[in-house]
Symmetry: C2
Subunit: 349 residues, 2 copies
């Protein structure tokens, strides 16, 4: 049995190896062509970094299904289950391009200034360019997904997954906005919102290789379920980290979700237990809040068991997600997907 630190290090290395390959593929799939300013704005956030967790999930699932050695060459073209090959890297880039489009538009909606340590696209460029850059990435994601070389029936199914995923992300974002104006959001409603806004893109990432490579419906569904489970766990873990990690390590003010009145599984749970969540932190300005205020709020949320509840919920989701992976062959990539799931809830930031 290896130590948790050693396991985390191994997962991060596996993610980094795949990130390298994704980073090489992005400029190939999305070159900066005329009109240059539009494509530069479209690439700005993609080039600024990002963990590439969704592409890593997608590529690892493809490796597991194809039952090949991890990172075996030629990496881009994978053998399918029904003969021929399919370019899963195109699918991985497509998913990351969708993620980037949603971040650009979300930052406008939330009026956020920073993303990945650089100005948000609507700050670095302007509102019009940011809207248009997002719109361009949107159609480019579909164009890229059309180029995997998968048989037409499978490509149609993959595009259906992609389009449906985008619709559900929009619905989730809309619910999220609505929830900020509603005091009485339930745990069930909150989890549904997280599923739509965040988890569906993990579900698409995990299931698209199965779709493109010709796996059975049962395999596709199990992998989709894995993505939904770990995607929700990922978001819940984010909510916990916002409260429990020091600001320096977090890269932003600890407890900023609380200050900004954002709904999280923790606050929704606490409110159901009678806590006046909106009064936990009096200051409404992230720059003005004191560490003492945050600590008082965290203590109150610990007392109702709300932080422990969120941790436990994330853990249960990850356990269920890992069980769903039993449809995959028993190989290294399968193990990596299990470790990735664990990492999502064990990570410190």
């Amino acid at each position: 049995m290896t130590s948790p630190e050693a396991r985390e290090k191994a997962v991060l290395e596996a993610v980094a190896e795949r990130r390298e390959l994704v980073n090489e593929a992005i400029p190939e799939e999305l070159p900066i062509v005329r009109p240059e300013r539009l494509y530069e704005a479209s690439r700005y956030l993609l080039d600024a970094g990002g963990k590439r967790l969704r592409p890593a999930v997608l590529l690892a699932t493809a490796e597991a299904l194809a039952d090949v050695e991890p990172l075996s060459e030629p990496y881009r073209t994978f053998p399918t289950l029904t003969g021929g090959t399919v370019d899963v890297m195109a699918a991985a880039v497509s998913v990351e391009v969708i993620q980037s489009f949603t971040l650009i538009h979300d930052d406008i909606m939330d009026d956020d200034d920073l993303r990945r340590g650089v100005p948000a696209v609507h700050r670095e460029y302007d509102l019009s360019t940011a809207i248009l850059a997002g719109d361009t990435l949107y159609s480019k994601a579909f164009e890229i997904m059309l180029e995997t070389g998968s048989p037409a029936e499978r490509t149609v199914e993959a595009l259906d997954v992609l389009a449906n995923t985008c619709t559900r992300i929009c619905e989730g974002q809309s619910l999220d906005v609505t929830f900020e104006e509603r005091p009485n959001v339930t745990v069930e409603e909150y989890l549904e919102m997280v599923e739509q806004k965040t988890a569906v893109l993990y579900a698409a990432s995990a299931s698209l290789p199965a779709v493109l490579m010709g796996a059975d419906e049962a395999v596709i569904e199990a992998l989709y379920g894995y993505g939904l489970d770990v995607g929700r766990a990922f978001q819940i873990r984010d909510d916990v980290l916002d409260l429990t990690v020091p600001s320096e390590k977090l890269g932003k003010q600890r407890g900023s979700d609380l200050v900004e009145g954002k709904r999280t599984l923790i606050t929704v749970h606490a409110r159901e237990r009678g806590v006046a969540v909106d009064s936990l932190v009096e200051t409404a300005d992230v720059d003005a809040v004191t560490e003492t205020e945050i600590e008082g709020a965290v203590a109150a949320l610990e007392e109702t068991g709300s932080i422990a509840y969120a941790d436990e919920t994330a853990r249960e989701l990850v356990e269920r997600g890992k069980e769903r992976l039993e449809v995959l062959p028993d190989n290294e990539a399968h193990d990596l997907l299990c470790e990735l799931a664990d990492y999502l809830i064990e990570r410190g930031h």
Copy 2:
């Protein structure tokens, strides 16, 4: 030989008949589901009206290709050229949904208050809802295009047309924004921008039935060319109407393109002939400009032959577009597509 008025009336009736059917299909393809506010905002502009010219082009092309009686029942399911049926109405709605998405986002970028006589979506709702409504329509258009029942190979090709069309519309919008800051746009550059921003959606509308119904590549290309030609002619005619139609009939200030410094084929042509286009109208506020100022500007643009040049260019495009229709069977729908092309440049508003 019927009179021009009688011909225009007949075309408008044919468009109106198809519009009725499109208006019935829109709520079926895009029902208002949870979250209601999002779908209400997405439907707002679609429900506010519109000529449905692009769906009319699409449906007429389908009728011509299938060689059926105009509006023959059951209208939604058309026989394909290779057996089976295809739901072209879904494709027609998909194209109109794309058009609506681009209008919502364009109105934000141009900071316009009104559209189709009602407040723009970002005015009726808010910026976030308008961005999200456009994004929702975007993915819904792909979902709807996936439901025509066409064979997988053809569906993949149709989605390729749709995705590529969206990319080119974004590129065209980006060029349009850039051109507003550049004094020296050439006629060629202007026409390229119009092709990307406006004409490609007409091209998609005209060619998608051929794609979905299994026509030869030569037929698909000819119909795509027809759409590019009449789409550019449509935009050029819009530019002419802005200068030549009284404000009351136009529904907005005559010459507003000039006042706002918008590039049109007319001003680009005049500038190439040495006219100081930016000085033609001193007033920069549409509400403050006088009819005398506009008349002076129009006289100057007539003197250089710029308005006549635009009229002539539109006419040539329409003639070429009509010639391309020779790939279609000689039937009533074929004639309608010719008349539609004529109408686009003869219409008085």
